[in-house]
């Protein structure tokens, strides 16, 4: 059975990842630091919640992200001067983001399907066999005539890309990237997509 704090974290914090990443991306100009900021925000929220769980997770999450960015600005780790101004101005955004959770089963399925289509072809095929046909890693390897190592490598990649694609995806902005044709390219740089929404 899962730790209640972990459950809370998934349902109340991770569920807001799309909005969080959007927020970070608007303030922080260095794209390659977004993932790091996101994880650091999560760490701070989780550690604070371990002592005392905030009554309302979402505002707390955004306040934590803001403070984190402010800290980094103070420590001179900021690359762009606009960031400083934005950090102060961004309080408003906390209320702007919609609660992207408790979707209907249908919407959830659609979201996950989109995410699947973002995977590179080989990776996508392997994830399908694993999740839909419920084959074990070994069975997938046998079925495709690949080495176990290769299949495992693809699943590891699939897990990480899916996390970005599923959690980082804003439900409202679904149609922009609905086509699957260039999914490989997209699968490689999902992080960069976050800022565009």
């Amino acid at each position: 059975m899962e730790d209640p704090l972990d459950t809370w974290f998934k349902r109340e914090v991770l569920a807001h990842e799309a909005a969080l990443v959007r927020y970070l991306s608007r303030v922080w100009s260095a794209r390659d630091e977004i993932q790091d900021l996101r994880q650091e925000t999560y760490i701070r929220v989780y550690e604070a919640a371990r002592k005392s769980r905030p009554a309302s997770a979402k505002p707390f999450l955004f306040a934590t992200a803001r403070n984190l960015m402010a800290d980094r600005v103070r420590r001179g780790r900021v690359v762009s001067i606009e960031a400083v101004g934005d950090v102060d101005a961004l309080n408003v955004m906390v209320n702007e983001v919609s609660p992207e959770r408790h979707l209907s089963a249908w919407q959830e399925l659609k979201r996950v399907t989109h995410a699947l289509n973002r995977l590179p072809p080989k990776c996508r095929e392997i994830v399908w066999l694993r999740k839909v046909d419920q084959l074990s890693t070994k069975e997938v390897a046998e079925h495709l005539g690949l080495s176990l190592r290769t299949v495992e490598g693809q699943i590891l990649k699939g897990m990480r890309v899916l996390a970005d694609a599923i959690l980082g995806r804003s439900v409202g902005a679904t149609e922009k990237d609905s086509a699957g044709s260039d999914s490989e390219k997209r699968g490689e740089d999902t992080e960069a997509n976050h800022g565009e929404q």
Partner: protein, 356 residues
Amino acid sequence: MESSKQIEEAASEWLLRRDSESWSDEDQVQLTAWLHAATANRVAFLRLEMAWDEANRLKALGAGFPARTVPSAGQLSELSGWSDAGAVPRHRDMAHAGAGRRKRAALAATLFAMAVGVYLYTAAPFSGDRYSTPIGGVTSVPLKDGSSITLNSASKIRVQLGETERRIDLAEGEAFFEVAKDPSRPFVVHAGNRRVIAVGTKFSVRRDGDNVRVVVTEGVVRFEDTETHATTSDAGKAAIVEASRLTAGAVVRAAGDNTIVRTASLPEAEDLLSWRSGYVVFHETALADAVAEFNRYSERRIVIRDPRIAAIRLTGKFRSNNSDAFVRLLEESFPIHAQHLPDQIILSDGLTTGTP
């Protein structure tokens, strides 16, 4: 210091290993140690785990394709050709001309069936384990997951313990839920368009047609007011109109479009649940409401003939199955006259009828 990317890679390695058949208790111990070693590890793992679990939803798509056949992204992205506004395919999607038409129509048919399936699932309240109580009966129903449900008089529920959700439909009446903690399967009580979602807690839900009352006595639940569009293109979607987080002591009353959330004292909330031990408790309750409450527990109805006495306020704790004693007390305490008939008890103004 490890970068977040390195940690994420390590987390995915753990998740992959945990998913494999050779996962042992010893492995679990090591994973637990790794998770404890740094919060960075834990949040990275939780995040991947959540998404990887979410991906299990893909299994639903398997029905549309032969086993071990991976559909092209194009085939699946037809899904996204469907408007966000609804789960049902728009007509023109099915009417495409061209070589791929039949294939697309078949896929659309499968997905349409799924969409309808989702809708029917929400709409059909009766499949699954059903329990009901007669008038005057209070029953306890233990569930396989360790939770327990106490059903009040004249109540009907359906129970479905699924892998991702424990779903209860309250068709009518009232039930008190003691929910065993299982974060992987939220416990969701549906009462018409309202939903109460819990992980592990104690609460009751009462339903009289469209009126719903929720009382929370322990832990936290989420209350949702939803609106299901049965006839429009939105079929299958239960749009959430309003949602509140309820903590112990909260009493929600929802009727029509109105929802009132009130924080009661815990003893007061407990009083609202005294039916479990066979009592009804009134605090300055209007006689009309008190009588309605008693009538839930007995075939022999109490009827107020005289509107003037309906507003009398009373306080006290009564046996819910003993309306005779209740009526006798009324006669002794108020200018009320009771007429006992085989199928009902008629209350009238004692001053008017001339009897004390």
